[in-house]
Symmetry: D2
Subunit: 410 residues, 4 copies
Amino acid sequence: MSKGTVVLAYSGGLDTSCILVWLKEQGYDVIAYMANIGQQEDFEAAREKAESLGAKKVFIEDLRDEFVEEFIWPTVQASAIYEDRYLLGTSVARPCIARRQIDIARQEGAQYVSHGATGKGNDQIRFELTCYALHPDIKIIAPWRIPEFYTRFRGRTDLMEYAQKHGIPVPVTPRAPWSMDANLMHIRLTEYYCVLPLAEIGSVIVSGVFCLNHAPADLYLMTKNPEDTPTNPDALEIEFKEGVPVKVTNIKDKTSKDTPLDIFSYLNEIGGKHGVGRIDIVENRFIGMKSRGIYETPGGTILFQAHLDIEALTMDKEIRRIKQGLSIKFSELLYNGFWYSPECEFVRHCIAKSQEHVEGKVQLTVLKGQVYILGRESPKSLYNEELVSLYFCVNYAKLFRLLINCFESF
Amino acid sequence: MSKGTVVLAYSGGLDTSCILVWLKEQGYDVIAYMANIGQQEDFEAAREKAESLGAKKVFIEDLRDEFVEEFIWPTVQASAIYEDRYLLGTSVARPCIARRQIDIARQEGAQYVSHGATGKGNDQIRFELTCYALHPDIKIIAPWRIPEFYTRFRGRTDLMEYAQKHGIPVPVTPRAPWSMDANLMHIRLTEYYCVLPLAEIGSVIVSGVFCLNHAPADLYLMTKNPEDTPTNPDALEIEFKEGVPVKVTNIKDKTSKDTPLDIFSYLNEIGGKHGVGRIDIVENRFIGMKSRGIYETPGGTILFQAHLDIEALTMDKEIRRIKQGLSIKFSELLYNGFWYSPECEFVRHCIAKSQEHVEGKVQLTVLKGQVYILGRESPKSLYNEELVSLYFCVNYAKLFRLLINCFESF
Amino acid sequence: MSKGTVVLAYSGGLDTSCILVWLKEQGYDVIAYMANIGQQEDFEAAREKAESLGAKKVFIEDLRDEFVEEFIWPTVQASAIYEDRYLLGTSVARPCIARRQIDIARQEGAQYVSHGATGKGNDQIRFELTCYALHPDIKIIAPWRIPEFYTRFRGRTDLMEYAQKHGIPVPVTPRAPWSMDANLMHIRLTEYYCVLPLAEIGSVIVSGVFCLNHAPADLYLMTKNPEDTPTNPDALEIEFKEGVPVKVTNIKDKTSKDTPLDIFSYLNEIGGKHGVGRIDIVENRFIGMKSRGIYETPGGTILFQAHLDIEALTMDKEIRRIKQGLSIKFSELLYNGFWYSPECEFVRHCIAKSQEHVEGKVQLTVLKGQVYILGRESPKSLYNEELVSLYFCVNYAKLFRLLINCFESF
Amino acid sequence: MSKGTVVLAYSGGLDTSCILVWLKEQGYDVIAYMANIGQQEDFEAAREKAESLGAKKVFIEDLRDEFVEEFIWPTVQASAIYEDRYLLGTSVARPCIARRQIDIARQEGAQYVSHGATGKGNDQIRFELTCYALHPDIKIIAPWRIPEFYTRFRGRTDLMEYAQKHGIPVPVTPRAPWSMDANLMHIRLTEYYCVLPLAEIGSVIVSGVFCLNHAPADLYLMTKNPEDTPTNPDALEIEFKEGVPVKVTNIKDKTSKDTPLDIFSYLNEIGGKHGVGRIDIVENRFIGMKSRGIYETPGGTILFQAHLDIEALTMDKEIRRIKQGLSIKFSELLYNGFWYSPECEFVRHCIAKSQEHVEGKVQLTVLKGQVYILGRESPKSLYNEELVSLYFCVNYAKLFRLLINCFESF
């Protein structure tokens, strides 16, 4: 008799394939669920693989539109950035993926959801907090935190063996020392010792986690190596309304995009071509440890810069100060997995309010890994400058005249 | 020929009566404007006085309802407090008064507004910033900052002499050493040397502004001396919706009020009867100097305490943290006169959003200057406690189980 | 054979007496440790009781001086207050108590420490975080979180039975519905259902935790009921240096105290006599749930008010703004048990720096539960006022003249 | 008879040469003062020019060492950045220059200082606030805010005419449309209409200040155009102690520098060679108006990135959060000219404290306008990782076990 139904976030790779089979072994019916959030993947091959491994059903869901509109756009409005450098491309995908997984669980009457996130990272937390927030009764199976699982699979060798025994296709390439997370917004690479059980990596830590080892140049997938990118820049014009892009135009060839997904994809294309958005950082994880992450966020980096610029032009100086504090808070909440918390909803509301007049066009070039803002204009700003600003200056002058008179009347 | 029309904020007292006559002397037509914001005043006598002094028109405007609903209520929602002690009763009245003055100026085609605020205080700034915000073209005449005026009127003696010469009724009582500002929310008393020209008060400063001189017990007008108040408390129940009171009930005698003005007036009555809301503080003025202020805010103090309590019961912990930061900002903006600035409107919007679920009843007693919260209940909170809280605890437990498993899987 | 040695934080009451015996039953040697932090207690009787129950050693430690100087004084400097109302009297005692317990564990070679804090409160966290911070290798036994213990002792009846069986003296009074924590700074009372296992209190929660039940008047121990306190105020003068009190003088009878413990004890005496410092609040606990707490903090409340006042007089306005933010952070850290964290040490350092010039005298009266500030003076402030302030005003005037000229040169 | 002595901040250019002569015309003795803060300048030629124009004395002061050590280094520690983009290179030079000017005024017994900053910018404020802070009695002559001066010199033509009449050497090149400020840290370019009297630039504003006009490529002086920079990166290793660089080494050619001025100059050289640190932004000025600024900060940009990285590795996560707030405050104070205010000194103290353990090496490459962090290491961090981190993880695990047990004991 079945122990119940599990909706498993399935990637098609070795780990979640093993988890799928292992869950069945434990007596669960397994529904495989793949979210298409823009990663490179042969989804049909993955579907067949899941089915062949015994999945009762397979859901392949194209979430790209909602990912851009409901999740990336608010981070653009917020100028969300974690610890001054990381644009939160992984963090923002988790609530999007988990939301649909919960929808499927409800629709299919599943009591369980499961995922292959490891026990040392932020992703498990982001994933599970979303699930609990949207479906407080759901039960979560996280094999990498279950002793029966993680003591059985102490490393890749164990997984490979298990795969061979259970007819799971085995990858022929040797494992990279990097773990990867990819979506429309970015690719994140994490050194494997950060995600593996301690037993396997003790020696690495002992020999110094943060030694000066450089990431290999061929590590990156979304972005060209800036040393090899074109020597001629591309020039873009991005148009914003209420703090989000509504149109992007290539100034030279007049290519133009005007839906959220098209805009973001095109910015990825241009950014990737010119090697924009690579960072190699150390960050503080939610659970306290520091970890090294390598990120490439081509389109997101262009948008971050362009949005900063149009916001600076159109937003009141003092509102900007207040919004800056809210954005820092938002970025922490997002990083820590609290997208669906009351406080994050409150902060998103306030930030969206601040964007009402963030409207106009930014022109920029992209070259050799860099984004150069060339200029900007705004109907709101022109109005400001031609009409309001004079009042404004005059009024400021009046205020200051008032203040100085105060003192002179002493 | 007239230099134009001035709408003068007229109090009926010696200073603004002299200003009224002086403005006429300077060649202006003067419209006298009195705002009834709850101060004790014989408005009809003041009307006659203004007319007899040559005012072209006299407007006496009852602003009490809008003062409570549009100005005091947002400060209650914000738990607005300046430098941890001052409830901002004067600050919040200024934009209310000036807004109507500007309305009258527009309606009457006046190019000028004028006021009797001195040149060392915050009130002039609060007043004038509101005027400029609502009517950027308005011209402001602030006699206490005009050398021709303040060198002519170097002290009360000069004003008295001028009054006698121009048929202005002269007060027979000696001047109090305290300057007073009164409205529905509070009475503020400031030592006179803080509002007078330096010449007159030099010796006071030299002998030590902040010596340990105590305020006389008979200084207070809205509140009884706690030594003389009843020995039996009054018990009240205040009901809140969206962070503002919608009903107050005297638990013993069942007196009940349910309009904003009635609620606030009743709280003043009870608070005053029991000597609630007296403070004697030093505060930092906008223009930098420290000054001593004595305030009595009976109803406002009761509401501040009651609102804190119902908010603590019904608001999410983390939203509370964020709102606390916004409230500090709001209090500074309000104190400094920026009610009608873009940033203050933004902050008010965010704070109002935070109050959506601040709903329920608080019971309290008032005795001998103190407010004692006895208990509280909320439909939102009960819901939380009976239903949500269990989910909540369970989910927190799941989160923590998740976290601990992370580490155990190390 | 012994499982090892446990240093138990022993209160002398029913719970920790049962824990002492139970730990011995489990095979541990038990050292009983009582911290004297100013609570009312017959320490010698407690020593005998612990010995008679089989404690290997008994330590009774007078920590009152260090509690005031090293723990209370920094909270006074910080104006520490949690959620705008709670003065943190329990929070601040925990690191003080646990620090000595760890000292004893080291000195006696004990591998374990134990305490009787329940599993739903903040105290366990404050206690244990301190232990781990000061002695990362220590092992903690928290019986109220150990299933073998808490399933055996499901309520007071079980504890009483166990006590009778093991010769533990059994209290004859019925249990109060309130749990108490007492020290020099305050007494905290918590409704019992907040600290008991869920089984016992389910019905209470279901019937509405936050109904309008009022706390009985005889609940308070440190403070008289304001209805019954003297009708004549006491007047005090408190002198501060670097933000902490160095002397208190009764203005009428000239009583004077000048050591930290004497000062604080005297303020407690006067505050208690006049019913100062009672609050009944709902607060957000670290672990998320809201709970009701009733606190009486007589001396702490007087000091809080007096320190606010002298700080307002002597501290630069803008430093005050920055310090306010740091104090909010400090209060959260303190409440949540992070006294010995790197960030709390950093914040304490910054706050102490801000107090360098907080020096002077405050005069106040205490009457019927209220503290009324009468006046204040400071050598720093006099200097400011007589000399600096003139420069200051002049310079501000210059700044503003500068600003206005900017605009006029447009 | 002389009206007194003025110490004039002299640049050698047309404006301050005219001011020098004009001040003499007004009856002042003029001491010319030039600060060498790393700008490109023929100081001896300037000296001769000043003498030939009638300066009583000429001081040419090499402030480069103190500029780096006392002013730039604290901004590096703070990660100071204004509105997320501007590294404050001009702001930080002003207090350094003005401090020495005040020293000279004191030493020479001058009652006046003077400068050529215009009446619409931030520089006049930064300059004058420093002067008043360090010498409250000083009198400041700001010709561009004096009607007699600015109505006489309504534009460049008037200056040229005056120069010719008074034997002031006249520049032969036409005026650039950009105003420049240069020092060791950066070059700032501001469109001229932002610094000229309104009369001259009205039409520019009316036609839209913030139209999409691009800055010409040949505008930049410290940095090569990234399109023309080497295709091979330079690789550097920067070593930090207490948050400031103590050594920089070129990994390839082993060039190495270890004094503050040498380190900073070398980073400028490498950064400039690769086109690092160009930005084109709109910013909010102190006096409220938005203005466009173009900045090049080659060495400062490299340092900013490297410091962020070593700080992320070595600083406690929660201290980082608090320091981030302090840095935002510091950046605003610095931008607004308040370096020598009490609050800025307080904030600098706190930030310096936070840097105690910011120590280690960062390796990076510089290529085509970009800084790529390759890796980092720290003795503090290694210690953390090998020893502390295990404790840390274990303790976190204990904390979480504690928390989960709380809930399980429900």
